[in-house]
Symmetry: D3
Subunit: 249 residues, 6 copies
């Protein structure tokens, strides 16, 4: 399996975290490419960041398709561009929010999400709604820390996250936690050790899920809703993304 | 009111249709700008088209903000980029799908959507889900005609659309129709005359809705979920969209 | 446009508030009739009040139909008689709760309602459920003030409402507010100025929505669910409402 | 138990059917009053009929409260006035649609409704939504027969109903049926015999449900949402319904 | 009516409580059998207890079918084995959670559940979800008392339950209460007297509901989902349950 | 990883199919135990079969816990006993329905299920409801073939299944398929080759999912809802399952 984790921010530190999280869990035969998009926002914290990141991700996947990549993880908790990404490849693609939701609902009946800024809650809610896990999520909690503060997570931030996790267990009726940011990928093991409940990191979860799908022989359905984009010529700044030739397998 | 209708495709014919639809219904004091994005797909029929269009729309709104525009309509039935658009302005913004859903649910208890390609159904379903109108929509029907066939709608296409509308009334238990594409904006009056039920065009509906919101003094909430994007520096291709200075009112 | 706002209480002060709210926002060509029902409760605060008001509204619309009215707003936040009203006219009809929900969901992702008595919460919940906005409403808050206290809103009541609004913003995760009573129509501008978020008044919103529908050429569908009532002879006290001749266009 | 079945139409034949249906199943100690409203529509087939019937029912219950009635059944499948009725008495009150839904979901996982006119479907859908049984109902089927045709159901109508019931079993994946009109109360036994599945009549079901609640000692909660209406003076035509003295137990 | 209440625990005290609760409300002609399963857990507080109890219940019903029982109540608030039980008899069968939900939603718009251990909440949530009452239940509250503490409820436990009931009324916006354990069957009358709102006991409610269904002539549908189990030979420890001959009426 | 696939029927052929399906996809380091329950039904096709199988599964897991198994798959599409199973181990446990739903929703937006008997549809619907995938499933189709006909699937049965799959693609608006029975585990590759869309087998999917969870370090949460069963002594036939000593890790 040749698996690409796409860091849709331009902050390289997150790609390092992704790689580390992936290598800890990847199967022997899995080759991990941890790539950072060429263009875009340094962190993804609002709808504008997400909209821009979605196109940056598409560009990256278009490039990676030529390198025989056969599994993709989008390493941002808003799963930006997930549907477009699934159109332009027949490899399995997952975002880390959806990955975390799949993982956590197998090991607990209800969970809380602990994320960075409160304003990202609405994106998480939209995903829970579309994916169907809304009734399994008791609450989305924010520590009100900007994503870049997680570039190299210090003790103060770690403590704030741990405290919010403990509140989730005490107050929400949740029995497992989901970390709501790729920048927290390196914290899940430590938090799980301290809290004694599953603390889900979507990056590692995503790696195992798409790796599994490849082993199972299941790729993105190319019939109907996620079929390759219709060939057409894009204009101007987006000409380079034109699905004229690229995606028709 | 200075109202911009953004045609998020690069096909100018759609902007003409939008303008015509808007002028038919706009209030005396409303100035309509019908603008076409500089870059992007010629038509929007899949998730990739939508992802690209979302950024093209954002770029356009960023530009229009400098021209004292105080109401926006996104003239594509997938409402691409709607949340990002709402972040970068305090003017009201609406997509034509949401606009049509608001209008139709006031004049009928249940409706059907008649759209172009079947593969766009999933986008419509996601919107119905998020906006809350799923239980009011009996069925989404596709005539399986590409969007560009609506550039200048001929009789064959018109007849196919009318036939699908009649089926919706006869088979779905719907009492009103929503046209699922900005390219059908010029057909609603004619269809309504022939069918005797409300046939909703989202472009005109969107114009009246945002015009109304301006009159009411309600702009996009700048607190919380839709506050201005956090200032940061985007890299590479998207540097020009950096919310560093632009959106901080 | 000849637009009637029906005050379904017998308290004339509310009709004055409605008129003022409407005139502030109505289009140049719109003639506003602010009418008070001849019979019924002085305020609407429970299911019995609503049931009675529904018939009073129907009687009023029956009378107004003869006066070429072509748009109706029902100025009570429980939207009493809305479906019956829509049957007996082909003009667009809206209640102020539904109107407020349409308006607020365009300018914010989530809202709270601030209403009078806690016992009216259940009516609001039923409407949110039927109209589809339940997941957009974070909480319904009551100031526990009787509706007639809003006949001429004093400072104590205003302060109580403002305080509840502030709590909604601080505690509910809402970014906009809906005022849950026609008697609060005169407070929205002042509250919006003080709170800095959209504070939606359903009366003004309703006026703009039905005015828009008239401009758009969309009337209540007369097919199926909302077709004119079947002609029949009512007995006794309700003989005068018999749909024998009146509603068959 | 003194139990009143309220026929909210002015057609006496339905009260006879109600009485017969009730007496077949009532407990030894239950006294049945089958009453017909003094005023209102001869049949209930649309929203206007329902709105009027709601007030007629309230008037009737107000009168019956003085006669020590301690259980009420509203014998119309739209459950008109149900919430107002529950406010003005502390006896248990049920409508025949809700009663049928309670009964059928105990004896089958999924059911279909067979009703009179297609235009009543929307009322049934609203009730299923509010009461929570929407996911248990596979389909609402209409035989397109007016309610008064059931005054004395002939063979043609019976056959049409039976045929629709058979279609429900064959096509809908339903294993039980609900008859969607009080006028069908006399058909359920015969249909059940012929079809071999539960065929639920809401009138008889309602009688047993409220009779049971009385035996259990559970009356309508007089706290909060269904507390007695606030005392106030109604004007004009509705003065007689004023909750000034009547409902304060 | 020959009605069996099955105590799915091996603790005889609960059968006594069930009998007492039933006899207080049963109709004159109803013969109550209060039976305790031969095998299984002494109390039901988790999923394992429930899984085991489900089979114990099935065994008991299999045995009771030979004794002309024609109505069953499963006296555990998790409604264990309800669907299997409904398959193996054509008599009506109800669990006490479902019974309580039916009863409470007729006398109040919203309710809270007060139960024993917090870990049983998830079972209650699953039932609310499947039966459709989730939106009517404001909150599930646990007093964190083990079920066996209710064998002979002392004052301390009673007080804890009453206090939790009062909190439900004060904090949840509920106007009626459901007692979430068969072991609380003897407390409902006392609590209702003290609290002044309906306090629903599922045991008594279940008795009246199935008694009613028998009177109505409605048994479990033997078509489709709940038809008699397919005849087959079970092996090993479960051979005795083989549906080879037993359930084919 | 030591992974047990539990065949909850007593038909050994299904264990062979499970083993084959598992070995095709398992990671190098995974040891597969394909075990058949000692007692129970030969096939699982109704609620009674499921209730019995649930206990048989619990017994088997109890036994396997002593053998250092650290991942479980329950190989029946009704996921019998899933919650009890999760209580009695801290290893991850998955049923094949849930596993299939997780897998299919990553590679397609909507799917259909093709299963054996129509009467199993309701179990599938309950699972879709609880797990949250109901809105992703377009339709559940049955070929009306008994499960044991899949012991050694002949051409006639295969053709019937393939034909139903094709209908699902043509008529349902689904772009992927889920095979609704462990007995179909050997058909998915062949069907996928012929149909050109993902055809999901829950057995293989389950193997990869729990294998992944072990690699990720996520076990079943032992806090709250799925904590080890409370120690107590079961009586009679079920004494051997008493959670007195066994599950307290």
């Amino acid at each position: 399996v040749r698996l690409a984790i796409i860091n849709p921010t331009t902050t390289a530190a997150f790609a390092s975290k992704n790689l580390e999280a992936a290598e800890r869990v990847a199967a022997a035969g899995t080759e991990i490419l941890s790539v950072t998009v060429a263009s875009g926002p340094p962190s993804i914290e609002d709808h504008l960041d997400e909209a821009v990141a979605a196109v940056a991700i598409v560009e990256e996947i278009q490039r990676l398709e030529a390198q025989a990549v056969n599994a993709y993880v989008i390493a941002c908790f808003g799963d930006p561009g997930i549907w477009a990404a699934r159109e332009i490849t027949d490899a399995p693609v997952i975002g880390i929010a959806e990955a975390a939701f799949h993982a956590v609902t197998i090991v607990a009946t209800h969970f809380s999400v602990v994320t960075t800024l409160g304003r990202t809650r609405v994106m998480c809610e939209h995903l829970l709604h579309i994916f169907g896990f809304a009734h399994r999520c008791r609450r989305i909690r924010a520590v009100e820390v900007e994503v870049l503060a997680l570039e190299d997570t210090g003790l103060v931030t770690f403590n704030a996250i741990e405290e919010e996790c403990r509140k989730a267990l005490d107050e929400d009726g949740s029995d497992a936690l989901v970390l709501g940011c790729a920048g927290m990928a390196d914290l899940s093991v430590r938090l799980q050790d301290r809290l004694g409940v599953p603390v889900i990191d979507g990056v590692a979860s995503g790696v195992k899920l798409v790796e599994s799908l490849v082993a199972l022989g299941y790729g993105t359905s190319k019939r109907g809703d996620l079929a390759a984009p219709l060939p057409k010529t894009y204009s101007g700044r987006f000409a380079f993304l034109s699905p004229t030739r690229a995606y028709q397998g």
